[in-house]
Symmetry: C2
Subunit: 181 residues, 2 copies
DNA sequence: ACCTGAACACCGTTCAAGT
DNA sequence: ACCTGAACACCGTTCAAGT
């Protein structure tokens, strides 16, 4: 009868490990968090993690998905706001994974799993931008170039952690670029 | 009498180690190149490197300086070309350190030496952009925002290695943004 | 001053053994 | 199915010993 009970427990334990990983990766960084430290924080032996995740990069991908899922869940709040406000919101929301941006780029060159996640994230972001730009009535052959400029700028803002004033100015300049005169 | 002869030899040997490091870091990546592999390629014992460099990050900084120095030496060729051509040249030239871009961002969070280099590089690039934009007759309060957008876009192009057509389109769109109508 | 072999502390991961 | 202690191969770095 209880055919899904153990699965329930398994999912819960995985979620616990994931929660600890998310906290440690964001607080201390991916490289600074050893599998031993993660296991200790979760109260299990070092190698137990490998029963729930294939390797350390798999933990990273799970953390990234969790952070992005939370962000998307809150997106509706601003989905109808002006473009500049949307951009600012995206940067602020994803700022929590500031330290993970460089990690993703670094690991993507070595881990196929992280590379796949990175490609998917860019695809999603560019689709989001394209929709927004088209709704704003933008047209022309340069729309693809503008999307890339937008994505790269967001990525740069995330990675470098500028002060609030600069961040705001850049988002507004970017939005202005996309507002037909 | 030969007070500078040993220094000469020392500089040569350091240059040899640096040359091997530059090749290996760019070909195989920073993380994939162990200090042991670097030493073997240079024909010395593993720990000999530490007499010429303080640590692995110090080798990285030396490699980065060498690559940028070579690039700047060639810059005069295009310093009077149109802005779009200048941007394209910068991306093409620095493309050789494509794999190192993510490494720099990743290591900057852990190594003060790499962080210092990274800050200096951004300062240099932004100064270069500012000069170019002012010469182009651009003014306004948004000039700082535009510089950042430019730098982040270049960085994104370097890190992601887009195809030639996309790269060209983005550089032209960026240059167009900076050309007063 | 320069170079080395050997050791150190750490890392992600694997494996045989338990329940 | 799930968890563990112990081991493995590797890493950057240090140190005592040589010349």
């Amino acid at each position: 009868m209880p055919a899904n009970k153990p699965q329930q427990d398994r999912a819960e334990k995985r979620a616990e490990l994931l929660s600890e990983a998310r906290r440690l990766f964001i607080e201390d960084g991916y490289e600074s968090t050893s599998m031993a430290a993660l296991a200790k924080a979760a109260g299990v032996a070092g190698n137990t993690i490998y029963w729930y995740f294939t390797d350390k990069d798999d933990v990273l991908v799970a953390v990234l998905n969790a952070v992005v899922a939370d962000a998307l869940a809150d997106y509706e709040q601003v989905s109808t706001a002006p473009i500049a406000e949307q951009l600012l919101w995206i940067v602020d929301t994803l700022q929590q994974m500031r330290t993970l941006v460089s990690t993703v780029h670094s690991r993507a060159t070595r881990s196929p799993a992280v590379d796949a996640w990175h490609n998917g994230f860019h695809l999603m972001t560019e689709t989001l931008f394209r929709t927004t730009l088209e709704q704003a009535g933008l047209s022309g052959t340069d729309i693809e170039a503008e999307i890339k400029i937008g994505v790269f700028t967001i990525e740069g803002l995330l990675a470098h952690g500028l002060d609030a004033a600069s961040t705001r100015a850049i988002c507004q300049r970017l939005a202005q670029l996309w507002t037909p005169t």
